[in-house]
Symmetry: C2
Subunit: 200 residues, 2 copies
């Protein structure tokens, strides 16, 4: 790379290109955008980055990210604390919240069992989940892990682990995505959709 620009803009392009989903061209475009914005906008962005590192922590109850523990969901008395939805990552909480269909609480595992990557059950917050189920107040655990190999393995593991506790354990339905096209559905998804067919 030439030094046609000074060090500052090269430094910014390099820093941006390290972020996920941003290539060298995109980093250059963003760097020039920042160069063209007001001082205030640039300051806002820099502040937002540092603020996240300074303020965000994990909820002691559910493991979700939050600014004060317990998180707003765990400390909300209007939510149903007898239903726990188990997800892999904090961003999955946000995805489910967006549906506005779930009024229970969450448990964030921090990943899924993945022997190839060296992630075993002990690396996830499974003991914390069992601890939350100990007092018998929880009546249902919904397993909402990613529908991939690691997610399926973790779902099976948790289902086996929770079955002796006498708690209802459910999982998200597999099937055709809404707005999708039957023709382009893969065999496994279509098989699951058939298996899980519902009476109308």
């Amino acid at each position: 790379m030439t030094l046609a620009y000074g060090g500052a803009i090269e430094h910014l392009i390099d820093s941006l290109a390290r972020l996920p989903g941003i290539g060298p061209k995109g980093a250059q475009r963003i760097a020039f955008h920042i160069l063209g914005t007001t001082e205030q906008d640039a300051q806002d962005l820099a502040d937002a980055i540092l603020e996240v590192k300074a303020k965000v922590r994990f909820c002691d109850v559910c493991g979700n990210i939050c600014e004060s523990s317990p998180c707003p969901i765990c400390s909300d008395p209007r939510r149903d604390h007898t239903v726990i939805c188990v997800v892999e990552e904090p961003k999955d909480v946000m995805s489910i919240e967006r549906t506005r269909e779930f009024r229970g609480v969450y448990h964030v595992l921090g990943g899924a069992i993945d022997p190839m990557a060296g992630v075993g059950p002990a690396d996830l917050s499974i003991s914390e989940l069992l601890e939350r189920l100990r007092d018998g107040a929880v009546v249902e655990v919904i397993l909402a892990l990613d529908p991939n190999i690691e997610g399926e393995a973790t779902t099976s593991y948790l289902a086996r682990l929770l079955s002796p506790l006498g708690i209802t354990v459910t999982r998200l339905a597999s099937g055709l995505p809404v707005g999708g096209d039957l023709e382009y559905a893969d065999e496994v998804t279509l098989g699951r959709a058939l298996e899980g067919r519902r009476r109308m």
Copy 2:
């Protein structure tokens, strides 16, 4: 949007989503990436953003961005100051520098003539270009504007403006992109490639 996350991460996602080429999903992904990086990496990124705003300015000679004026290219005695390459934006300078084929200097117009967007010749650094040509030291001006309608209009305008000065005015060759496929070339490009054919 739900407030499942605290304000800090929502603020960062919002700030990131305002950057060009980053959608809401990409912003969320980057925000979580930043959350997972070290304090030092986050600080580096924030510093890089502020550094660019604080340090980067425009070269008084060529209009390119730089940290000290004149810019490294304009102040480099090993470069050929008798050939000026005229481009629209600072990023075009970087593109041409990457070819390692050009040893002259640049003139950054700051855009192209675009009546629809209200950009006329007076909004570009054309008078500064004429000023640089006044002492007769420059022998060639290469017009390297974007090959689109605005770039073509600006190229024609500048060629007409410069022709009475007795300076050689050239433009970049139009033709097939290297590695491209004749079948997929558009008619205009293929027409230009034919028109500009070279004896072997």
